[in-house]
């Protein structure tokens, strides 16, 4: 009787799945084995090419990489600074755009209209074109009171384009917040601004954080677009060395630096999503 009561009110959680030692080890061995077989096959296949020694010398020369490292690294430091500044501006500006677009009420129509137009316009234009237009075109106007530097206008171009994307990411997050949350906020007497501030945005941003981080990684690489307007970022420094020596090993150096910067961000995103999913599961169970 008591036992049946227990099972009815709080059913015992299903027994956790515990793979045996064998079940755990064999997949690892198999994955290692298949990887070794595949990689060895690829290496022999590539190595058998008559062009391989030439490609190796021109793309994977250790001495050329060492020579290129200091210049590429100093360029990469510029990448990182532009990235951080642009990222902060994008996150703020995009949030403003997303809020503008989500405002209800006839009085806000001009703001909504502006946000829609802005996003349509700048999301549709390739980032490279924005960089060229802002980098070469706008400074030629010699606008009084504004700096004329390529770095300034290049960063503005990135912020302009990426804000349009990021605003849509925010908006997706806001849409994903259940209507019940808004109703509950209203019932508590919160006005539209307070509802956004305390109910919708905190949940929305949490929902889209992986997508925002994804955008951050993408931006990290797109900073290299500024090289076309004369900015000497890491990719441009690598290009300068490549064009001087006709050796592409400097590009490998730049690629590795970008990986070092982006892989931790990707792992953090994975970790965050997993933890978030676990927390939600615990809350609902």
């Amino acid at each position: 009787m008591t036992a049946t009561d227990n099972t009815e009110t709080s059913p015992a959680p299903p027994a956790p799945f515990r793979p045996s030692r064998r079940e755990r080890v064999i997949p690892v061995l198999l994955s290692a084995l298949s990887t070794i077989v595949v990689v060895t096959a690829v290496v022999f296949w590539v190595g058998s090419s008559a062009q391989w020694p030439r490609v190796q010398q021109q793309f994977f020369s250790w001495t050329a990489m060492k020579d290129a490292f200091p210049d590429v690294l100093s360029g990469f430091w510029l990448n990182m600074r532009v990235w951080v500044v642009a990222m902060v501006l994008i996150l703020l500006f995009a949030l403003v755009l997303a809020v503008m677009r989500s405002l209800t009420g006839p009085l806000f129509a001009p703001l909504r209209f502006f946000a829609v137009l802005y996003i349509d316009l700048f999301r549709g234009v390739p980032a490279l074109l924005l960089v060229i237009l802002f980098g070469f075109g706008v400074p030629a106007l010699q606008l009084p009171g504004l700096p004329n530097g390529a770095l300034f206008w290049g960063t503005i171009a990135l912020v302009t384009g990426y804000s349009a994307y990021t605003a849509e990411v925010y908006r997706a997050g806001m849409v994903s917040v259940h209507d019940g949350q808004r109703a509950a906020a209203k019932a508590l007497g919160l006005n539209q601004g307070q509802t956004l501030r305390f109910a919708v945005l905190p949940q929305a941003i949490r929902n889209v954080l992986p997508a925002l981080l994804n955008g951050a990684v993408s931006l990290q690489k797109d900073v290299a677009l500024l090289s076309v307007i004369g900015i000497r970022d890491s990719v441009r420094e690598a290009q300068v060395i490549k064009d001087r020596t006709f050796n592409y090993s400097s590009f490998i150096v730049a690629a590795v630096l970008f990986l070092i910067a982006s892989v931790p961000l990707a792992r953090y995103t994975d970790w965050y999503s997993r933890r978030d999913a676990e927390r939600r599961l615990q809350r609902t169970s």
Binding site: S61, P139, I229, V240, D243, F246
Partner: protein
């Protein structure tokens, strides 16, 4: 429980990574396997004239001389972005060279490439590439160069408002804000000879001009013939401030050579023809026709 599965997953990820690293390490050891430079320029004169008959040449397309150049090409090297016209210095040299080697003008084929296509390893769909390439020792390790067909002095082209516009020494040049085209020895000259540390680097000569028009840079180093063209056509508000002294260093070479893939056997015959054109004075005559500028340009000294 949770930790076990996470752990298994990371091992699954790590195992391939380690395997990759091992393979990469094992084949990353000897860089210089391919760096043995086959033919030295010295042996060019030894080739018998018969070996250079059109039918025995190792050509990309039989009976045709296929020449690659850039897209676009700039005056005064080629006019109207049209290499086939024979107008402009490089176009004229190409047709003179073809004639010297025994090709009819209609057997010269042109293809367009960008810089990377020309220097990347692998088979090419042309015989050689011609777009003001300067031979340097570093570059010679991965490609081959013909004997030079022109030596261009470098010059300073500056906006009238620039500090470089009235420069007479390298010290006067320091205050200007500089830009240059990527892949040129002009950039190396600015950095290593004049000692400018923050040269803005652009993809093409047109971008350098755009940056000067936008006021982001106010001076650049270009070959004197290019400076004459830019000064006359593209940048009205500019001045050719002066001709720069030649650099002894091969990394900042002023020479222009045809670019061949490493070990291309056609090169020896092209060198024979180029030497013949030079000895006959034809190269100088073509230069006089297409590359003469107006007015006296002062010298800038160290």
């Amino acid at each position: 429980m949770r930790s076990t599965s996470t752990c298994t997953r990371s091992i699954r990820l790590i195992a391939p990574a380690i395997a990759l690293a091992l393979v990469a390490a094992s084949c990353g050891s000897d860089d210089d396997a391919a760096s043995s430079d086959s033919a030295a320029p010295a042996d060019t004169g030894a080739t018998a004239a018969d070996d250079c008959a059109v039918e025995s040449l190792p050509l990309f397309a039989a009976g045709k001389l296929t020449i690659a150049t850039g897209e676009p090409v700039f005056p005064p090297w080629m006019l109207d972005d049209d290499p086939t016209s024979g107008e402009g210095f490089e176009s004229a040299v190409a047709y003179a060279l073809a004639d010297e080697m025994g090709f009819a003008a209609e057997d010269v084929e042109w293809v367009r490439t960008d810089f990377d296509v020309a220097i990347a390893p692998g088979d090419k769909d042309y015989d050689f590439n011609m777009q003001q390439y300067s031979p340097t020792e570093e570059r010679d390790q991965v490609v081959d160069f013909s004997t030079p067909y022109y030596n261009a002095s470098k010059s300073v082209l500056a906006l009238n408002s620039s500090a470089a516009a009235t420069a007479t020494t390298f010290a006067d040049l320091q205050a200007a804000s500089w830009g240059a085209t990527i892949g040129t020895t002009d950039l190396d000259y600015l950095e290593n000879e004049i000692g400018i540390s923050d040269v803005a680097v652009f993809d093409t000569q047109s971008d350098v001009v755009a940056a000067m028009l936008a006021g982001q840079i106010d001076a650049t180093v270009v070959a004197l013939p290019s400076a004459f063209f830019l000064n006359a056509v593209e940048l009205e508000d500019s001045v050719i401030a002066g001709v720069l002294p030649g650099a002894g260093d091969s990394a900042t070479s002023d020479a222009m050579s045809l670019l061949f893939t490493d070990g291309n056997e056609l090169r020896t015959c092209v060198d024979v023809a180029l030497n013949a054109l030079r000895d006959a004075g034809s190269l100088d005559a073509i230069a006089v026709e297409w590359l003469q500028g107006d007015g006296e340009i002062p010298n800038i000294t160290k």
